[in-house]
């Protein structure tokens, strides 16, 4: 395993030089390596352990667990899809070679995180992933540099809290190894220490997966990263955070550790805190996503909300909730990756990411549209896509535990997700095509095939979820979250909840039957006459032939409703308190203080320098004597 990671890291540098010669060859090699890795993760036997070095007298090791396998597999799916996507997409970028290098580093870093057995190894690979992704974000765009800084700072806030936690643990137990820590924590009498440690470790996850107080970087980083890389950011890198959150509540078995801290329906207090943060993220993510005009920022906020779902699900430590949360990792990774790739395709062709400047692209980019459509069906949690299964599980857990307020927030987020995913659908793909895009073409197959493959995986897992549920069941067994029954009952084709079950195959068949019946009804009756929505583009002086109140309209872009799509709803929270604004105010305050000090101490005049020199000497002498 370690050789694999090291080889990846070394080859990423080699690939830089290959890509310098021909970036296309480099990216093809990347894609092949990625595909190989997907097969590779299946071959590694579970429980393999490799020692990689020593730190403070502790061995650093890698371990291949069920959780690591699941997360690696999901990550690789996303990364490989993006790698294939990039083979063509990179020609719109200025630094394809650097992209090829860093994306391979990100892969290595993330795999390392999922393989890490101890906190320090995790930290090292974490930083590799974060720093290499940070270097991709500003690629070629000056205005994105600030985004990279925000991303790094937010990440660092989390990471240093994580490190602090890790060293607190070390100073008390003298170990970094996670299984050891879990054992020690369970027996530790000091509650405050345990709470502090768990929350500090979780802080890295909170920062990375964009949970409430540290969610602000998502919008900036996702919005400004290179378009295809946003798919990796949202689909894969954010999941590192979910992994750490899972570590902090499941690998360190919170049910056992905080057995005396259970407040209500068997959920420990720190988990409550995390669930509350998750719920806040759901609300903030949903509300903010609904009002975004930039389509990438919209999905960035939706990642905040979905990160909240994952945290809520895992945080309940309920068999169903945990499985739902972990499955949601998979669903959201695939859906967000496809959505960002679809947007990257749109930007690739139209060079804008503002919803208000687009429209009617379905006439020109139908395949991208299909990919986007199925991705949002999954994201909104509508059967027969797999997104529904995880939401169903999370609801089951919440209702079973009687957590009504969290459940209401989860429902709000779920219905809110209809609103925000529909907005780009209506504003970008449907409606009227603006004149300036009348010569836009569909993206080449190498760009749409990865999207369709991911969509197909999500679809198949929605109809027959048992292959993906099995590793999750294994994981749950590892963490000892006792199942009272088998959730994924593949013999009876059932997914079982705490009471009541459903059969994804029947649901899918019903849907298909309904669709076929509808289609038969449709064909029975007279054939429709086509209304050519593109007529104003083709023919000068032809009015738009749809309902226009009887008047004549010739300008398609004026007859396309995409600005302030939910105006009535957006108006309700126009003047909302904003965490982001508060952070900005703080940043501005510190900046001003710095400026002030800078201005005070470093006046650009010789006399000032002389004065301060004299003062310094005086102080030194005063201290000396």
């Amino acid at each position: 395993m370690f050789t694999l990671l090291v080889a990846l890291l070394i080859f990423s540098v080699v690939n830089y030089f290959i890509s310098k010669a021909s970036w296309r060859v480099g990216s093809i090699i990347n894609a092949l390596i990625g595909s190989y890795l997907i097969f590779q993760v299946f071959t590694i036997p579970k429980g393999t352990e490799v020692t990689i070095g020593k730190f403070l007298g502790e061995t650093l090791a890698l371990q291949w667990t069920n959780a690591g396998f699941y997360f690696s597999f999901v990550s690789l799916l996303v990364i490989v899809a993006v790698m294939f996507f990039a083979i063509k997409w990179l020609d719109s970028q200025k630094h394809p070679a650097a992209f090829n290098m860093f994306i391979l580093m990100v892969t290595a870093g993330s795999l390392g995180v999922f393989m890490a057995k101890d906190l320090i190894t995790l930290y090292i690979f974490w930083e590799i992933a974060v720093l290499s992704s940070m270097l991709i974000i500003p690629m070629g765009k000056k205005e994105s540099r600030k985004a990279a800084v925000v991303y790094a700072v937010m990440s660092a806030v989390g990471t240093y809290m994580f490190l602090y936690g890790a060293f607190m643990i070390y100073s008390r137990y003298g170990t970094f190894s996670m299984p050891e820590i879990a054992k020690n924590l369970a027996n530790d009498p000091s509650t405050s220490f345990k709470v502090a440690v768990v929350l500090l470790i979780a802080a890295a996850g909170i920062a990375k997966s964009g949970i409430f107080p540290l969610h602000t970087w998502l919008r900036i980083a996702h919005g400004n990263a290179p378009d295809a890389f946003s798919a990796v950011l949202s689909g894969q890198l954010v999941k590192l955070g979910s992994y750490v959150l899972m570590i902090s509540v499941a690998v360190f078995p919170s049910l056992k550790i905080f057995a005396n801290l259970k407040l209500y329906s068997g959920v420990p207090a720190p988990n409550y805190f995390l669930i509350a943060l998750g719920a806040a993220s759901i609300i903030i993510g949903t509300l903010m996503a609904i009002k975004q005009d930039d389509m990438k920022m919209l999905i960035a906020y939706s990642s905040v909300a979905n990160g909240g779902y994952i945290l809520v699900g895992i945080g309940t430590m309920d068999p169903l909730g945990f499985e739902g949360g972990v499955l949601h990792v998979f669903n959201h990774a695939l859906a967000a990756a496809v959505i960002f790739m679809a947007f990257a395709s749109v930007v690739y062709r139209t060079h804008t990411k503002k919803i208000s400047e687009l429209g009617g692209l379905i006439h020109k980019m139908p395949i991208t549209y299909i990919a986007y459509l199925f991705a949002i069906i999954s994201l909104a949690g509508i059967p027969p896509m797999s997104g529904f299964i995880s939401k169903w599980m999370i609801y089951q857990a919440l209702v079973r535990k009687g957590m009504f307020i969290t459940a209401a927030i989860a429902f709000f987020g779920s219905i809110g997700s209809f609103l925000y995913v529909f907005r780009p659908l209506a504003g970008v793909f449907l409606g009227q095509l603006p004149r300036k895009y009348k010569d836009v073409k569909e993206v080449p197959p190498i760009m749409w095939i990865p999207m369709l493959v991911l969509v197909a995986i999500s679809f198949v897992m929605g109809v027959w979820p048992f292959p993906i549920l099995q590793p999750i069941e294994n994981m749950r067994a590892d963490f000892g979250i006792a199942p009272s029954f088998k959730i994924a009952d593949a013999q009876n084709w059932l997914v079982r909840g705490f009471s009541g079950s459903w059969n994804p195959v029947i649901v899918f068949n019903l849907f298909i039957t309904g669709f076929i019946v509808a289609y038969i009804l449709y064909t029975l009756f007279p054939k429709p006459k086509k209304v050519d929505l593109l007529k104003p583009h083709k023919e000068e002086g032809a009015p738009i032939n749809i309902y226009t109140s009887g008047e004549f309209i010739y300008t398609p872009e004026l007859y396309h409703y995409n600005t302030k799509f939910y105006a009535g709803f957006e108006r309700m929270y126009e003047k909302h308190p904003s965490w982001e604004k508060l952070l900005y105010m703080l940043a501005k305050f510190f900046h001003d203080v710095g400026e002030w000090i800078h201005g005070w101490f470093f006046r650009p005049s010789p006399s000032a320098y002389t004065f301060w020199l004299a003062m310094t000497i005086l102080i030194i002498f005063w201290v000396r004597w």
Binding site: G541, P543, I546, Y547, G550, E551, F552, Y554
Partner: protein, 178 residues
């Protein structure tokens, strides 16, 4: 006239009993429509109901005089309606210009521009007359004789030429429509 198939006969009989009219008051005859729709005369009894847009409507009521500005919209709207579609001309203005026969802005006969299935005489026609006209139209549809939409297709060139003669152009471009 061609023989209708059984399906067409059934369809025609259904169409006759569910007439959705376009909610468009082109002239003053629309003033007697609310009484016809409401409690006193209640034309929903016969399945006649107002509809919002031309796409859904079956009948278009030309409720009185049409000036050239309205006629353009009427033609445009008529072409947006789904086949089969029927037109009822209200009042003498649609028949021969009525009291506005010498006006510089109103047309004098409607069937010169779009085919009309039923005319109602009078200015303005009473609700009873409107109901009678609806019943007559229903009967015509049932018998398959209300074929204005077919005539419009067959004589499209003729109608277009008449429209251009009176209107100049149908799809007007002016500062409102750019």
């Amino acid at each position: 006239m061609k023989e209708r198939t059984m399906w067409e006969q059934i369809a025609d009989s259904l169409r006759s009993r569910s007439l959705w009219m376009l909610h468009y008051c082109t002239g003053c005859g629309a003033m007697e429509l609310p009484p016809t729709m409401t409690a006193r005369f209640d034309m929903e009894r016969f399945g006649v109901a107002p509809m919002a847009t031309p796409r859904q409507a079956d009948i278009m009521l030309i409720t009185g005089y049409l000036n050239t500005k309205t006629l353009r919209r009427v033609i445009y709207t008529y072409e947006q309606m789904a086949d089969p579609k029927y037109v009822i001309g209200f009042g003498s203005c649609t028949i021969n210009g009525g009291i506005y026969f010498d006006s510089y802005s109103t047309i004098n006969r409607l069937d010169y521009y779009i085919p009309v299935d039923v005319y109602i005489a009078g200015c303005m026609p009473r609700p009873e007359a409107i109901l009678e006209a609806f019943n007559y139209l229903m009967e015509k549809i049932r018998k398959g004789e209300a074929d204005g939409w077919k005539r419009y297709k067959e004589n499209y060139e003729w109608y277009k030429q008449n429209q251009i003669r009176s209107l100049g152009e149908v799809y007007v471009h002016d500062e409102f429509h750019e």
